[in-house]
Symmetry: C2
Subunit: 412 residues, 2 copies
C-alpha cells in the first residue's frame, strides 16, 4: 500500500453541481477488484466539447477516437475507465472504443459520435469492452449531479489522492460553475501511465471558443508540469460546456475573444492550475513540490525550455530530495538546455536566498539559512539570466528512491 | 565506500608506451587526501592536438582555456586535476587556468599556450592553482612512459574503476599505438560531474586531420552514451599525436581523408568505443549495461533521437532495473521522441525475443524466456519502426535506487 502523498492538499473543496451534468461510477472489474473503475458523465442536449491530447506519436485508441470526433463539437457522454489504457492494442483496441461508445449511446439514447472516451491503466492488454455493457444501464439509472469525489476516485490508478477543483465566474448577469477532476502522472506497474483531466461547465460556450480557451489554458498549467519527462500515450484533457446557464441569463458565447469571457477565463485557469498542481503533488514518490522560475531569458519560450531542463534533471531532482541547495547542478541544467545563457550573468536563488551571482557563488549567502529552507516541503528554485524579459514557471517534484521502487520493484 | 561496478571489465589491457608521451601523477591536495589528484602528460616537440568539448552554454574555465588554444594545433603538456572542476568560478577560475598553464610551461620549458588543461570535481569552489606549483617540478622529474593506470586513477572522482584502452594500427610501413584513458559520468556530491577522455598516439597526424578524426569518432561512441541525460559543464576529449612514429617510417598525414588512415581510423574508433562503453559500465548505481538499437527509422539522425528517448526514459530505465521487459514503456518513449513513427508497424525485442509486433503484443512470446533474459547483466532493447533504413545504437545503464542514493543522500 502506498500512503497518501505528504504533499496532498489539506482539504477538499465542496464540489457543487454543474447544471446539465450527471455522474455515476461502477465496478466493471476491468482489472481491479473491490473498487470502482468506470465513470459515466451524461450531458444535456446542446453540450459542446473541446479537447487537448498527448503529443505521442503512438497514442492510445481512445485518444484517436476522441480526436476524430472533436470536429462534431457536441457531446452527450463521457466514459472513462481505469485499469486498462487500451493503448498499443491494435485492431482490438479500435473495436473496443467503438463498442464502448455504442453501449453508452444505446443506454442514453444518443449517437455514438457524441460519446467521448478515455482509458488509463496497463498498456498492451486487450480491453474487454463487454464489461462496460454489463454496467451501462445501472450507470445511466444512478447518475446524479454531485458525486464529484466518487468520479475522481473511479479514474485513479496509482494516484494517492483524488483530484478535484471548482470555481465560479460571472458571465453576463449569470454565475456559472466550472468543475474539474483529474488523475495524475502516477506511472506504475506495468504502465499505468496517464494524465487525465475533465472540466465541466454550465456556461454556454461554442465548441470552437471552448477549444481556444483550453488550448491556451493548458500552456501554463498542464503543459508546465513535469514529473519525470516521460509522456503518456493517453494524456487527455476534455472540456464540456452544457450551456444550461443560458436559462439563467448567461449569454451564448461564440468566440474565445469575446470580452465577456474575461472573468470566466480567469476561473477556468484557476481550475486548470489547481488540477495540474495536484498532479505535481502526487508525483510518484514525491516528498517535495518544486517550483522552477526562470526570468531574464530572451523569450518566454526560451525560459520554458530552461525551466523544463532544470525540472527534468535527475541530478537537480535528487539533490532536492537530499535537501541540498546544489546550485552547481542548476548551472549544469541551464547549460545543457541549448538556450541563450551567459554564465557570467547568471544568478540563482533557493527560496529568497541568492546562492549564486554573476557566474560564481554568492559570497554573502548563509549556509544555515539555506539548509533550513531546503527542509521545507515546497521549494522554489529561481534562475535569473540577465538577458531579456522572458519569464516562465514550471512545477515538478523531487526524485526519490521511492520513485525507483514504485517503477522498478513492482514485480517483487 | 562504493564497491566496484559489477559491470567493470574483467581484465585490464597491458598499456604500452606511446613514443613521445611521458606521464606522472602526484598528490596536490586539491580536495582529496591520501590519493593522487593531478596528472601531467608531457609531449615531445611537434605534438599536434585536437579536442571536442561539452555543448553546455555554461562551460568550465579549463574548457574555455582549451577551446581558445586549439587553433594553435600544438601541445607540449596536459595537466588534469580531480577534486575541483573550476567551473562557475568567475574571474578566479580564469586566473587559475592561466597560473596552472604558466607553472607547467616554466617547469617544461614551453609556452603556456602549448599547455592543455582539464578539471573535474566540485563546481563553484575556487581552485587554488598554487597547489600545482608545489608539485610541478616533481611531476616533470618523475614523468615516464608506462604509468597509464596511475594516470587513469589520478583523474577519477567517483568512478569505481580506472578506464584505459589501447590499440595498434598500421600506418604506412610502421605500427603506431593509440592509448586512451577516461573518467566517467559518475556525478556525486556536490557536482562531480564530468566526462574526461584523453587519447595519445605516436602517429604523425596534422592537427586539422586529427580534429576531423575525433569529431567523427565521438559521434557513435561518446555521443552515443547517456547515463542520465545530464550534461556536464566540463566534458572534454583531447587527442594528442606526438608524431614520434615518423622515425620508424610512418608517413606524415595532413588530411583526414588520406586513404592510408583507414587502419588507424578503425583502431582509433576501437579505443573511443572501449572508453565510452566503460563509462556506461560505471554509470552511477548501474547494475545493467543497456544497448538500445533502433532500426527502420526515416534516417540515422531520427534513429538516434528515438534511441536517446528510450535510453533517457526514467520509466524504461527503472523497469530494466526491476528486470521487467516492459515494452509498453518502450512504446511510450518512442511516442514521445517526436520523430516519425507508426504505432501499427512497431516491433520491439528484448535480446532476441520479439515481444511486440505490428502495434500489439506479440502473441508468440514466451514469458519465462523473457524473464530469464532480463536477469542478465547486459540487455539489448531493439525497436524496428518499419519506415526506412535509418539505424542507430546508444549505450546506457539502468536506473536504480543506488543512483538516487549516490546523488541525493550524500549529505547524510
Amino acid at each position: 500500500m502506498v500512503a497518501v502523498s505528504p504533499l496532498a492538499p489539506k482539504r477538499l473543496p465542496d464540489m457543487p453541481a454543474v447544471a446539465g451534468v450527471k455522474l455515476a461510477t461502477a465496478e466493471a472489474g476491468i482489472r481491479y477488484r473491490g473498487r470502482t473503475d468506470v465513470l459515466l458523465a451524461a450531458f444535456g442536449k446542446g453540450t459542446t466539447v473541446a479537447g487537448v491530447f498527448t503529443r505521442s506519436r503512438c497514442p492510445s485508441a481512445p485518444v484517436e477516437w476522441c480526436r476524430a470526433r472533436l470536429g462534431g463539437g457536441v457531446a452527450r457522454a463521457l466514459v472513462v475507465n481505469s485499469g486498462n489504457a487500451n493503448a498499443f492494442t491494435g485492431k482490438n483496441g479500435r473495436e473496443a472504443t467503438k463498442m464502448t461508445a455504442a453501449f453508452a449511446a444505446k443506454a442514453l439514447g444518443c449517437r455514438p459520435n457524441e460519446v467521448f472516451l478515455a482509458s488509463t491503466g496497463v498498456i498492451g492488454e486487450p480491453l474487454e469492452a463487454g464489461k462496460f455493457a454489463a454496467v451501462m444501464d445501472q450507470l445511466v439509472d444512478r447518475a446524479e449531479p454531485t458525486v464529484w469525489l466518487d468520479a475522481a476516485k473511479a479514474i485513479m490508478t496509482t494516484d494517492t489522492f483524488a483530484k478535484v477543483a471548482t470555481a465560479t465566474a460571472t458571465l453576463g448577469s449569470a454565475t456559472v460553475t466550472i468543475n474539474g477532476i483529474a488523475k495524475g502522472a502516477g506511472m506504475i506497474a506495468p504502465d499505468m501511465a496517464t494524465l487525465l483531466a475533465f472540466v465541466f461547465t454550465d456556461a454556454p460556450i461554442a465548441a470552437g471558443a471552448l477549444q481556444a480557451l483550453i488550448s491556451r489554458g493548458v500552456e501554463d498549467t498542464f503543459n508546465a508540469v513535469t514529473i519525470d519527462s516521460d509522456t503518456s500515450t493517453s494524456d487527455t484533457l476534455l472540456a464540456f460546456a452544457t450551456g444550461a446557464a443560458a436559462a439563467h441569463g448567461a449569454p451564448r458565447i461564440a468566440r474565445a475573444g469575446d470580452r465577456r469571457l474575461k472573468n470566466f477565463r480567469g476561473a477556468l485557469d484557476t481550475v486548470l492550475a489547481s488540477l495540474s498542481e495536484q498532479i505535481a503533488r502526487d508525483g510518484e514518490g514525491a516528498r517535495k513540490l518544486v517550483e522552477v522560475v526562470v526570468e531574464g531569458a530572451v523569450s518566454k519560450r526560451s525560459a520554458r525550455r530552461i525551466a523544463l531542463s532544470i525540472a527534468n534533471s535527475p541530478l537537480v531532482k535528487t539533490a532536492i530530495a537530499g535537501e541540498d541547495a546544489n546550485w552547481g547542478r542548476v548551472v549544469m541544467a541551464v547549460g545543457k538546455a541549448g538556450e541563450p545563457a551567459d554564465r557570467d550573468r547568471l544568478a540563482i536563488w533557493f527560496g529568497d536566498i541568492r546562492v549564486a551571482h554573476k557566474g560564481a557563488r554568492d559570497p554573502g549567502y548563509d549556509e544555515a539559512a539555506v539548509s533550513a529552507l531546503m527542509k521545507q516541503s515546497e521549494i522554489t528554485v529561481k534562475v535569473a539570466l540577465g538577458l531579456g524579459s522572458g519569464r516562465d514557471r514550471v512545477l515538478t517534484c523531487d526524485l526519490t528512491k521511492e520513485y525507483v521502487a514504485i517503477n522498478g520493484d513492482y514485480r517483487s
